[in-house]
C-alpha cells in the first residue's frame, strides 16, 4: 500500500511550494488516476515518488508498504519496487536498448538478492514481454530512445516496466504523444500488468486514457493538493466541465 501523508515539496533552491499537503492512499491491487490542470503538481508528485534529487520534500512522508522511502536514492526505491514510466523518456546515445534493459534488470535482481539472468534467459524473457507490446529485438538493438517515435518511446517504457516487475507503477502522462492505435497497444500492456500484488498511479490530463485503463479511483490534484476524489465517473465529469473550478482554488 502506498500512503502519501501531508506531502509538501518544492524545487531545491526555489522557495515556491509545489505540493502543499498531498494526502493519498493507494491500496495494493488498485489502479488510481490523478488528473488535474497544467501546473497543478502532477509531474512533481511523480518525480518526488521516484526520488529525483532536484525536488525537496519539506514536510510529510511517503510510505510504501509501511516503510518511509523519503531517504532512499532512486535506485534503492527501484529495488523496493517503485517504477516511473516517464512522460519524456531520456535518450542514451551509444547504449543499445538490450544492454540497458539487462543492466537495469540485473542491478535490481542483485539488490533484491536474486540471481542475475544468463544471456539466453534474458533474451527469452525480452522476446516474450516484447511481443506483447509489438517490440521486436531489432528495435532493442538501437540506442535507448534515440530516434524513437513517440509511440516507440512509450512502448519501450512499458516493456521496461514489464521486465522489472515493479510493485508500484507510476505512469506520468503515458498517453501524451500517442495516436489511437499506439494508445491501445500501450494500454493493453499496462492492463496486462494489473495484478493484486501491484499498485498503480496513472497521471493524465485526459479522460481518454482512462477508457482503456479503467481506474478504481480518480483524484483531482490542483494547486498542490488533492481537491476531490471519486470513482471513474469523476473522470467523465471532468471531461465535460473542465478544471475551471479547481483553477480558481
Amino acid at each position: 500500500m502506498l500512503e502519501i501523508k501531508n506531502l509538501h515539496a518544492k524545487i531545491v533552491e526555489e522557495d515556491k511550494p509545489i505540493l502543499k499537503g498531498v494526502n493519498l492512499t493507494v491500496p495494493t491491487g488498485e489502479v488510481h488516476a490523478i488528473m488535474g490542470p497544467n501546473g497543478s503538481g502532477k509531474s512533481t508528485l511523480a518525480y518526488v515518488l521516484a526520488g529525483r534529487s532536484d525536488y525537496e520534500v519539506t514536510e510529510g512522508d511517503i510510505l510504501w508498504n509501511g516503510k518511509s522511502i523519503l531517504e532512499m536514492t532512486p535506485d534503492e526505491r527501484a529495488a523496493e519496487g517503485v517504477f516511473l514510466a516517464f512522460q519524456y523518456p531520456m535518450e542514451i546515445p551509444g547504449v543499445a536498448g538490450l544492454t540497458f534493459l539487462r543492466t537495469a534488470l540485473n542491478s535490481i535482481r542483485r539488490k533484491r538478492g536474486e540471481a542475475e539472468l544468463t544471456t539466453p534467459e534474458f533474451m527469452k524473457l525480452v522476446r516474450e514481454k516484447g511481443s506483447q507490446l509489438h517490440i521486436d529485438i531489432e528495435m532493442l538493438k538501437r540506442p535507448v530512445n534515440v530516434g524513437f517515435s513517440g509511440g516507440e518511446k512509450k512502448r519501450s517504457e512499458i516493456l521496461q516496466m514489464a521486465l522489472l516487475e515493479p510493485t508500484l507503477c507510476v505512469l506520468d502522462e503515458t498517453d501524451s504523444g500517442l495516436d489511437i492505435d499506439a494508445l491501445g497497444v500501450v494500454s493493453d500492456g499496462v492492463n496486462a500488468l494489473r495484478s493484486p500484488d501491484r499498485a498503480m498511479l496513472v497521471i493524465t490530463h485526459y479522460q481518454r486514457l482512462l477508457n482503456h485503463i479503467v481506474p478504481d479511483r480518480v483524484h483531482v490534484l490542483a494547486n498542490g493538493v488533492i481537491q476531490r476524489s471519486g470513482d471513474k465517473e469523476l473522470a467523465l465529469e471532468l471531461e465535460r466541465s473542465g478544471y475551471a473550478e479547481y483553477r480558481a482554488a
Binding site: 526520488g51 535506485d75 527501484a78 523518456p89 547504449v95 540497458f100 542491478s107 539488490k111 521496461q160
Partner: protein, 487 residues
C-alpha cells in the same frame, strides 16, 4: 554485454585505487643523476651502440640545449629539473638486453603476470588470437615473446637496442626520418637519451600473423622513461600494434618522454593502438606521470594507411598528438581518441593530419571526458598543402563533462592551401545531465553504474576501433577511471 562486466568490475574495486600502483623490489643498475654528454656516452656504451648513433645522440643533445620547453599547451606544472633525474635504470642482470624467456628473473615475470600481461608463449585457446609482447621495464626491454614464430614470416619484432645491433642498416635508414631529432623539445631530449622501446619491420607483402604489443612499465624511483619505437611496414604489408603502460603510485612526478615513428610504404597499413594508464596522481593531484610524447606516422607510399587509436586514462599530464603525414597519393590517416581525465589530471591531446599528396583523406574522432577538477583539451591541426588536390578530412570532436569543476576545451587549427580541399569539423560539448542519471537510476542502476553506462555509450564509436581482445578490458578501465567522479 560488456557494459555489464564493466559495472561488475567497477563494483569490485575501491574508489581511488589504481590497481597497477605496486612497486617491484628489484635491484637495478642506474646511471648517476643528471644529464650531460658523459651520461649520453654511458647510455650508448651500456647498449653497445655504434659510433654513428652516439654522434646522433650527441647532436640531438646539442640541439636540445638550445631549445625552450613549449608553453602553448593548456597544462601547468612546476618546472622540471632535468638534472634531478636518472636517465638510465635497468634491473640487474638484464642490462645485456633481452634473453630467452627461461632466463628472465622470475620476479620480473611475476610483475608482468600481476599486471595481466602474458609473457609465456603458451598455447592459446581456440578463438583467441596470439599476441606477441615486448616487455620494457624502466630503461630496458626484458623479453620479447614469439620472436621465432614471427621470424618465420619474416617479421622482425625486437627491442630497439637489439635492432641497432642486429639490423643497423634499417635503423639508420629510418630512425629520425619521421620525427627529426630537433622536431620539438621533448623529441630532442628523447633522441639524446632514449633507452629502449620496440622495433617492428614487416617485409613486403606480409600480413603480420599476430597482434604485436609493447608493455611499458616504469618501476624505479626518480627515473625518467624515454622509449623509442620504430615501425616500418614495407610495400603491401599490414600490422596491428598495441602499447600499454603503467607505473607505481608515488608522490613524486615522473617523466615519460617517448618518440614513436611509423613508416607505411606503398599499399601498407599500420594500425597503432594505445591504452595509456600511467599513474595519474592521487585524488589531491599529488604525484603521477608527466607524459610528453611525440608520435607521428608517415604515409610515405601511395595508397598507404595509418590509423591511431588511443585510450588515455592515466598520467598527471598528457601532452601528445599522434599525427599522420599523408605524403603518398590516396593515402589515409585516422585518429580515434578517448581521453578521460579525473582528479587533477591535465590532458592536452589531439592530432595533426598533414595532407601533402593528392586524394588523401583523414578522419578524426575524438571523445574527451572530463571529471573532478581536471582539464581536458583537444588540440588538432588539419592542413592541406598546395599540391594536395581533393584532400578530405572529417573531424568529430565531442566532449562530455561530469560535475561542474572540470573543463573541456577544443582547439582546432585548419589550414587549406588548396581550393579543392574539403574539410568538415563537428564539435559538441555536453554534460551528463541529471535527467539521464535519474532515468538510469530510476531503473535500478547505482549512480556509478549509470555514469559508466552513459560514458561507455558516449565513447562507443572509438571503442569499436580497438582490437577485439582489448575492448572489454578498456571498457572496464573507463569505469575505473571515473570512480568517485560523481556525488
Amino acid at each position: 554485454m560488456a557494459t555489464v562486466e564493466t559495472i561488475e568490475q567497477v563494483k569490485q574495486i575501491d574508489v581511488d585505487q589504481y590497481k597497477y600502483g605496486f612497486e617491484t623490489d628489484i635491484e637495478s643498475v642506474k646511471a648517476p643523476k643528471g644529464l650531460d654528454e658523459d651520461i649520453i656516452r654511458f647510455i650508448s656504451q651500456k647498449k653497445g651502440e655504434p659510433q654513428w648513433l652516439l654522434d646522433w645522440r650527441l647532436d640531438a643533445f646539442e640541439r636540445w640545449r638550445t631549445m625552450k620547453e613549449p608553453t602553448w599547451a593548456r597544462v601547468s606544472y612546476p618546472k622540471i629539473d632535468f638534472q634531478e633525474l636518472h636517465y638510465y635504470s635497468a634491473p640487474k642482470g638484464v642490462e645485456e638486453g633481452p634473453k630467452s624467456l627461461d632466463e628472465v628473473d622470475p620476479q620480473l615475470l611475476a610483475t608482468y603476470e600481476k599486471l595481466g600481461i602474458p609473457l609465456a608463449e603458451q598455447e592459446v585457446l581456440a578463438g583467441v588470437k596470439k599476441v606477441a609482447v615486448d616487455a620494457v621495464f624502466d630503461s630496458v626491454s626484458v623479453v620479447t615473446t614469439f620472436k621465432e614464430e614471427l621470424a618465420k614470416a619474416g617479421v622482425i619484432f625486437c627491442s630497439i637496442s637489439e635492432a641497432v645491433r642486429e639490423h643497423p642498416e634499417l635503423v639508420r635508414k629510418y630512425l629520425g626520418s619521421v620525427v627529426p631529432k630537433s622536431d620539438n623539445y621533448y623529441a630532442a631530449l628523447n633522441s639524446a637519451v632514449f633507452t629502449d622501446g620496440s622495433f617492428v619491420y614487416i617485409p613486403e607483402g606480409v600480413r603480420c600473423p599476430m597482434e604485436l604489443s609493447t608493455y611499458f612499465r616504469i618501476n624505479e624511483r626518480g627515473t625518467g622513461q624515454f622509449e623509442r619505437t620504430l615501425i616500418i611496414a614495407e610495400k603491401g604489408s599490414h600490422v596491428s600494434y598495441l602499447e600499454g603502460c603503467t607505473a607505481p603510485m608515488r608522490d613524486e612526478n615522473q617523466l615519460h618522454a617517448a618518440v614513436v615513428e611509423l613508416i607505411a610504404l606503398e599499399d601498407a597499413e599500420i594500425k597503432y593502438s594505445t591504452v595509456q594508464n600511467w599513474y595519474p596522481g592521487d585524488s589531491e593531484g599529488k604525484g603521477g606521470i608527466y607524459n610528453f610524447v611525440t608520435k607521428r606516422g608517415d604515409c610515405r607510399g601511395n595508397n598507404s594507411k595509418i590509423s591511431w587509436t588511443q585510450v588515455e586514462t592515466g598520467s598527471a599530464i598528457t601532452w601528445k598528438y599522434p599525427s599522420c603525414i599523408l605524403r603518398g597519393d590516396n593515402s589515409r590517416g585516422e585518429f580515434y581518441s578517448i581521453a578521460i581525465s579525473n582528479g587533477y589530471q591535465q590532458v592536452d591531446s589531439g592530432t595533426k593530419m598533414i595532407h601533402l599528396g593528392k586524394n588523401t583523406s583523414s578522419r578524426i574522432v575524438s571523445k574527451g571526458i572530463a571529471a573532478g577538477f581536471s582539464e581536458n583539451t583537444y588540440r588538432g591541426l588539419v592542413s592541406a598543402h598546395r599540391k594536395a588536390t581533393n584532400a578530405r578530412n572529417f573531424t568529430q570532436c565531442d566532449s562530455l563533462l561530469i560535475g561542474d569543476r572540470c573543463g573541456a576545451h577544443t582547439v582546432p587549427y585548419i589550414e587549406a592551401k588548396n581550393s579543392s580541399a574539403h574539410f568538415e569539423h563537428e564539435a559538441t560539448t555536453s554534460k551528463i545531465s541529471e535527467d539521464k542519471l535519474f532515468y538510469c537510476m530510476q531503473r535500478g542502476l547505482s549512480e556509478e553504474e549509470a555514469v559508466a553506462l552513459i560514458v561507455n555509450g558516449f565513447v562507443r564509436d572509438v571503442l569499436q576501433q580497438l582490437p577485439m581482445e582489448f575492448m572489454a578490458e578498456t571498457q572496464k578501465l573507463i569505469g575505473i577511471s571515473l570512480e568517485g567522479s560523481v556525488g
